[in-house]
Symmetry: C3
Subunit: 226 residues, 3 copies
Amino acid sequence: MATIESFVPILDLGGTFVFAISGAVAAVNRRLDIFGILVLAFVTGNVGGITRDVLIGAVPPAALVDTRYLLVSILAGIITFFWYAGVDRLRTPVLLFDAAGLAFFAVAGTQKAIEFGLGPVPSALLGMLSGIGGGMTRDVLLSEIPQVLRSDFYAVAALAGALIVVIGDGLGLPYSVSALVGGILCFGLRFMAIRHGWHLPLAHHSARQRAAVDGLNQNKTTREGN
Amino acid sequence: MATIESFVPILDLGGTFVFAISGAVAAVNRRLDIFGILVLAFVTGNVGGITRDVLIGAVPPAALVDTRYLLVSILAGIITFFWYAGVDRLRTPVLLFDAAGLAFFAVAGTQKAIEFGLGPVPSALLGMLSGIGGGMTRDVLLSEIPQVLRSDFYAVAALAGALIVVIGDGLGLPYSVSALVGGILCFGLRFMAIRHGWHLPLAHHSARQRAAVDGLNQNKTTREGN
Amino acid sequence: MATIESFVPILDLGGTFVFAISGAVAAVNRRLDIFGILVLAFVTGNVGGITRDVLIGAVPPAALVDTRYLLVSILAGIITFFWYAGVDRLRTPVLLFDAAGLAFFAVAGTQKAIEFGLGPVPSALLGMLSGIGGGMTRDVLLSEIPQVLRSDFYAVAALAGALIVVIGDGLGLPYSVSALVGGILCFGLRFMAIRHGWHLPLAHHSARQRAAVDGLNQNKTTREGN
């Protein structure tokens, strides 16, 4: 299965690149300066994997040691800085690349955790974290609630791909097979969710909704404490 | 003192559970979807301990490797999701369980740091961090200033319990004794703070208050940079 | 070069102190209680170095093990708590000390990463992170976008100092020489940026600016998802 393995670095750096683009676009939208744009690009492209590496003890993290991750992130930041209008118009292709990046990160992150001796459940969790951690940190730095916590099938798609890798490992299948199946499942779920607007259910909380009508401003003031 | 030690896993998982409930309730209040609720439950129940483990070099962290922490967190999230109104009505019992969870986390976190060879001061700090780190991360993910930084005796209670364990260790007392005393002190302080509305002092900053009267909106715009 | 090395602990603890002052002042401005003020002081003074230490595998981090960092941070918090008006009036000297702290942290952080075997690029990045990480975490805990991502030459000055250390190491110069040159460069850039109001460029994003005029409130609602 040499064909798949020769694609791995391309997919990995490609995933970093599209994640970094999404970070840079968010930074431009919030009017950060060029340094802020580069930081958001690097953070979004790499913090998921860095956090995974810290948690499994793989320090210093690969994304710091291998300079290509930095270069790819800077490239994404610079392209967005000089060509924001163009990048913004490419929203749909970027979403598809982002789905591909998510699929790759989830699958490869799971495999790395397995290789470091973690069990199936933590490995799948860390695979998912590799995929969603960068975007979560991007949103926290922009003082927003992470989108992945309030929207569609993003994390679920990553988790599904990660679980396939874990199950494949348990069944003794070669990594290239389970990675391919897991990656396609993750990408496919994400693609369908974008196309059909799938989203996850919210909890009913009628008591609070009533309270909200009664005294929204008061509640808000109390909660936000300002 | 086998009686105490046989309670330890129950208290530990019980503490995780009540912390996870508080994360899930906060997630429902901010209208996160079911995945966001489960993430907030897990984060609030476990990130304090995970951060402590990363800082003392105990990787992969126990909360990732031992699947029961995940299961207990998911259980708390699902209960909150389907039964939010009921959980919300149980506010007072949840506060008491939360105080118990805090006491256990502070005491056990301190002991773990001591066992990893840290000195008394960092051990007490890490014990406190074990107790408050999950709730702080919950609030950061919800884009709020952590409650523990602006309210009553929460962290101080955790620190008091942690200090008892450190002092007990210095005096050569058995862990079960100092853990019991430290845990009761932490729980008691927290209970009294809830019951009597104890809170910590704020700084006087009359210069700023004057400025605030002069130009509040202007200041706010500048500070928040939007 | 014993003269320089005997200054190192003073500069290091001095840098921690001025960073801690900036955290404590921000905490008072947001009306945190005394515990919140102490936490913000410690976080701002030490999280940059702690994060660097976690990423290079130097756990437990020096700022936890060596109690002087805690004591200096608490001292800064208490001074600010009792003497806020005075500290606030010392804004310009504090900015200069802050520039000195940044210079020292960037240089010493880079050197520590080199000593742990990291290559030149990650070492320079980690040196910069040592300098800016504390302030970034301070702002995240206060639910604000980190100032360093949207303002003047702060991070660039840190990076410039870090690069000098890396280049000096590559050329085989003694650390005391490159540290002195790098530190002076960082301090000088920061000083000039404060004095002359230097800042980094923003991206043009006319498409969005047009959209903003058309429907600002609508966009904002969507983006912030409330």
